[in-house]
Symmetry: C2
Subunit: 210 residues, 2 copies
DNA sequence: AGTGCATTGTAACTATTGTTACTGTAGCCG
DNA sequence: CGGCTACAGTAACAATAGTTACAATGCACT
């Protein structure tokens, strides 16, 4: 674990903090599709991502859901921090988008380090800033874009996160992420295929030119 | 200024910090309607609200705009902090919703205090958490609610913020805040009036029962 | 090979929201 | 007073998104 820590966080944390993380953190390998946090969960530790990607979703009580953003290597979940510190229930759902490796840090430590390490403070603050900006971008997307543009952006983002032109997903899954219906997605995907931007197959979509 | 500081922030900040704020902060009275921050501005100080309310808007380059949330007494603007710390341009626009009194703190101090005062650290972190949750609520609203429900929520929020059943605004202004067209708002307001929930007048709306 | 299920394609229709266009009216100002 | 402007009411229509219903196809499993 120490080597992976060095590689991914060596440039931002000092030696001593890295050693502490190594001591109290729990290394985990998460297979794609695993649910990490459910809405209403009490969260007692925060993740530091080593590799892979995590999808953060918002759900409401009616079964509506919506993709908020992805977390990647070097990211942590500001929402989770907010929950930990505030002793609140989680407002979001987290699902591994790909096979993911991460280190879990217990809440107590993360508060302790806030006083102890300048670099940790900066990291936490910067994470909040990043997340606020991601949330802004999400708001832009749903407020200002039409469904066809949102779908395009979704496909682009997904291809980038997975570093793969071939997206393994179903129309229904996309519909859930964008909070619309399967039929609408099928319709728009078909239009994109006719424009030559993608190729549709069962259970996967090949990105040609977005 | 010290008295107002005591009243509004006395219970969260220690004496010494209050004195420092009193020294370096600039007290300002802002009349309703004043534009505080425009998108693209470089921000070099953060506000601590004493009284009144500030409306935070998101704009894009096409002239689209959308109300994000209101700031009230005891609040500060996490977006602004994010800008200050990151030396970035503002992503949002801030306009005084009512006559507002606030204290402006220069960036350098706010960073210095992060190391020096435990209470300041907590305040900053808590502000980020509050703002993240406001953003989540905003996302819920635009993603899951229809325009008539969004309008209802808007009227409720506005009445609460202004502590007044009589909202001084125009249909066009509401349309801007909700990012839709004036005609749509007029239509929906008329429906609410028929349901007996509001009374429409020129330049103001009387809230009866929401 | 045949059954069953998940996935996709498509048509037809409805609902919601956005647009255009025109009218009326209140209030301000010369 | 007359004219200007901002605000509000409304109809008619267009565009977008959501819904229902059903057919077709691919794949896993027996």
């Amino acid at each position: 674990m120490l080597i992976e820590l060095q590689e991914n966080y060596g440039h931002i944390f000092e030696e001593e903090l890295l050693r502490e993380i190594n001591q109290v953190g729990t290394y985990k390998e998460i297979p794609a599709g695993t649910k990490l946090i459910e809405i209403g969960d009490y969260v007692r530790s925060m993740p530091l991502l080593i590799s892979g990607a995590i999808k953060i979703m918002r759900d409401d009580t009616e079964g509506d859901e919506l993709l908020l953003y992805f977390l990647e290597r070097g990211d942590t979940c500001a929402m989770t921090m907010a929950c930990c510190m505030g002793q609140k229930k989680s407002e979001i759902r987290a699902v591994a988008e790909k096979d993911t490796r991460l280190i879990m840090i217990p809440v107590q430590k993360m508060e302790e380090w806030m006083t102890k390490y300048q670099t940790w403070r900066s990291f936490v603050l910067e994470s909040y800033q990043l997340r606020l900006n991601e949330m802004l971008e999400t708001i832009d997307t749903i407020a200002f874009l039409k469904m066809d543009e949102r779908l395009l952006k979704y496909l682009r983002d997904k291809a980038k996160i997975n570093q793969d032109d071939c997206l393994e997903t179903t129309h229904q899954q996309i519909a859930y992420d964008l909070h619309t219906s399967r039929v609408v997605i099928s319709r728009l995907l078909k239009a994109l295929e006719k424009e030559g931007k993608i190729q549709l197959h069962r259970n996967h979509i090949k990105v040609i030119d977005l």
